[in-house]
Amino acid sequence: MSVGPDAIRTRAIKVAKSTSLSLTAIGLALLVSAVLILLAGFNPLIAYAALLKGAFGDSFAIGNTLARTTPLIFTGLAVAFAFRCNLLNIGAEGQLYAGALASVVVGIFVTGLPTPLHIMLAIAAGFAAGAMWGGLAGLMKSQRGINEIVSTIMLNFVAIFFVSYMVQGPIAEPPGFFHQTAQVATTARLPIIAPKSDLSIGILIAVGCAIFIAYLLWRTPFGLRLRTVGRSEGAARFAGIPVNRFMFGAMSISGGLAGLAGTVEIIGSQYRLLDFFSPGYGFDGIAVAFLGRSDPIGVIFAAFLFAALRIGANQMQRTTGLPTSLVLVIQGTVILFILGAGILQWYRQRQQEKGA
């Protein structure tokens, strides 16, 4: 065993702490929403029961939840990975669009390839396009000192509008009545795991990616160096780590991961690219990464939770008439409550200052 018992204990304590914090935040957020539901004149228990049923009620529901989990794992990973290098990638949404665009182009216009090859090519194209879009922000950061938060916000809109232009014009499905492309070739589609659902092997790719990223961060020299840049630029520089190159690299990989979210959405479930097709997966990625404490494995669980909320919300709406948008409120308050974890410390300090 390469890791000492101390390490396991420290890590276990850390995981337990952050997990309990996340669970507390989720509980509190559900409580706040319950009050909202009550005020709206509904029974929160019935609503939450419907939500649970919608997300996990039968294999079809679970399949849909897992299908929804897939892109969220990728965007969550994207944000978490960049954050390990102390970069805030708010641009996962745009990188997702870039990835979707590239993979749909490969899926439609490259023909005559055997299935696995075509899929791999589409995935590679999606990753590359996302990486380029993320890398652009990385380049601006490392070469011109431009804050990545600002640049990625801007790049989001550029990508989204560009895709909108593409699907309405150059790559619109003939004759072009609808704002969408044609379907990708069957050779480029990911095999479906659960029949009659949207669940493709994309979920396995996503989980595999998360495990790979965890390995990359904690078991490779590259990961250690990247985290060093994230925690102390000074120490990194004096240890001979090329800080700028790592920032660029981290943003590129982060963008690539977000690009895969778009890719898997296209070749795994939607098969065609539509105007504004993403319901904010990229922005959800920020919340997912944060809820998962920027830990790739944590991201899987956080993505699953968010997906369950979104899928379950449909059932909740059908049963009770409560709008699905309620789950956005739940998601947002979860994040606020985690941010609010410092409140006890703040309160104690304030009491102390008053006492002094």
Binding site: M1, S2, V3, G4, D6, A7, T10, R219, T220, P221, F222, L224, R225, R227, T228, R231, S232, G234, A235, R237, F238, A239, G240, P242, A356
Partner: protein, 508 residues
């Protein structure tokens, strides 16, 4: 009646007594120096006077009336002004705006517009009165450091300060600027202002102050008239710990590792920081670089370490690899600013230990780190260097400064570097830890390593080095054999007198 009396002031922080029953008396129109080493409690004492901290015991009397300050605002309104070592100025604002920041300088009671013109008039009047050369409309970021300091002084005067506290006012100044500052301070004292200045430089204190209070480890070790004191007396009061002169084995001659010729390096502001240095450094010797902080030592070290580019001249380290990663492993570097550049505080000890070596055998390869080996090595270092830590998995941030430094030293020595740069290796360490670091450096030298020791502590340089170079304004004031060097001689060189001039002076 004294203007200010601080009586039996005591302040404790977790683990240390920063001030232990310290008394300080300040007379009107006096320039009073507060002398002491780094960490002797000077700043803590002044922060209590300025209302940033509150004393745990003791009292402060202004003109025989007891006062209690709970914030700088209280201190300011009581007539106390402070010029911090790191200036408290907003760079993007003008001089006038900085001076009136936080004051209610508006055109009328009901007219909230700033009365900039009125303020400027007063600033100009004050500047003229005390000989402060200032341009009220300039933006602060455009001003040289000396001028920024004058803005700080003016800020206090504008708020009718009677007592002016300056924290290490000369640390950031060029010699020309120091002269100007001294003149200004004398002017102020002559017109009735009282001045306390914090310093750890003897020559300055003797040159400028009327009286001096010396602090050592939080205790007042003496308060004397400067006219009655000699430099060596003051030094004795200040330096509590006698640096144990370790026994040095005679130096074995080894091959030359580092050679520089006419080396020029610029600092972050693109000003020349290292000016035409030529020296060499061989295996098995400790090459001491002495000098007051900010005379180019930092830039020289960084250039050798490979994190700062060279402007002109030659810098050659023999047998150094071409690959960037390898190069950083071949030069060990105990960096000056441990928290910013030496360690990663949230990382575990073994991760810190692995920063440079990860990915090289036997620590793993590019695809896989052998964490087991690295943890073992860290555990071994903990034992070997008697580091107080429960194991390699604890976070660096949980260790004391001395133990952190030991980890850094262990890491850099483990690389078996061709050259070891040790910059201020004992800064902020307690006596025990400092002596330990000294021993380690000497034993590394005895085993044939080439070591460059950069230190502002004269005693340390004298005790450890084989040869000593003194830097002043980026230039070398001379290179002497440690066995022939004396404190006085090095002190003169640190003050900017070249070895040549000293020798000529002696021969005359």
């Amino acid at each position: 009646m004294s203007l200010l009396r601080m009586e039996e002031i005591t302040k404790r922080f977790p683990g240390v007594v920063a001030n232990d029953q310290v008394d300080l008396v300040l007379e009107e129109g006096e320039i009073h120096a507060l002398l002491g080493e780094n960490g002797s409690g000077k700043s803590t004492l002044m922060n209590m006077l300025y209302g940033i901290y509150r004393p745990d015991a003791g009292r402060i009397l202004l003109r025989d009336k007891e006062v209690q300050f709970s914030s700088p605002t209280d201190a300011i309104s009581a007539g106390i002004g402070m010029v911090h070592q790191h200036f408290m100025l907003v760079p993007t604002m003008t001089v006038t705006e900085n001076v009136i920041l936080g004051l209610k300088e508006q055109k009328g009671r009901w007219n909230p517009l700033l009365d900039t013109r009125g303020a400027e008039k007063r600033i100009n009047a004050l500047a003229e009165q005390y000989g402060l050369d200032i341009e009220p409309n300039a933006r602060v970021w455009q001003l040289p450091v000396g001028a920024q300091q004058r803005v700080e002084i003016l800020k206090s005067l504008y708020r009718n300060a009677e007592i002016l506290v300056l924290d290490e006012p000369t640390a950031v100044l060029a010699p020309k600027e120091v002269e100007h500052l001294i003149e200004v301070l004398r002017n102020l004292a002559r017109s009735g202002k009282s001045i306390i200045f914090i310093s750890h430089k003897l020559n300055e204190v003797i040159q400028l102050a009327d009286r001096v209070s010396v602090l050592r480890n939080g205790v007042l070790s003496g308060q004397v008239d400067v006219a009655d004191a000699t430099a060596s007396q003051l030094a004795e009061m200040m330096v509590g710990r006698q640096v144990e002169t370790p026994k040095k084995k005679p130096r074995k001659s080894g091959e030359t590792i580092l050679t520089t010729a006419n080396l020029v390096v610029k600092d972050d502001r693109s000003l020349i920081a290292v000016d035409d240095l030529t020296f060499d450094l061989a295996k098995g010797e400790i090459f001491g670089v002495a000098g007051v902080d900010g005379n180019g030592q930092k830039e020289l070290t960084e250039a050798i370490a490979g994190v700062r580019s060279i402007e002109s001249g030659n810098l050659e380290i023999s047998g150094l690899s071409k690959s960037r990663g390898k190069r950083f492993r071949e030069i060990g570097h105990v960096t000056e600013d441990r928290h910013q550049t030496g360690v990663v505080l949230p990382f575990s000890l073994w991760e810190n230990y692995a920063l440079k070596v990860c990915g090289t055998p036997p620590y793993g390869n590019w695809l896989n780190m052998n964490t087991g080996v690295m943890q073992e090595q860290t555990r071994a270092a903990i034992d070997q260097f008697s580091i107080k830590a429960t194991g390699p998995d604890v976070a660096m941030s949980t260790l004391s400064g001395g133990n952190q430094q030991k980890v850094v030293l262990a890491r850099e020595l483990a690389l078996d570097p061709k050259l070891l740069l040790a910059a201020q290796p004992t800064r902020g360490l307690d006596v025990g830890a400092a002596e330990y670091v000294h021993e380690r450096l000497l034993s590394a030298r005895d085993s044939g390593m080439a070591i460059m020791l950069i230190s502002t502590e004269l005693e340390e340089v004298l005790a450890l080095s084989d040869r000593i170079m003194v830097m002043y304004e980026g230039k070398s004031m001379g290179l002497v054999d440690a066995s022939q060097a004396s404190r006085e001689m090095l002190g003169l060189m640190m003050a900017g007198v070249s070895l040549e001039n000293i020798e000529n002076g002696m021969s005359q």
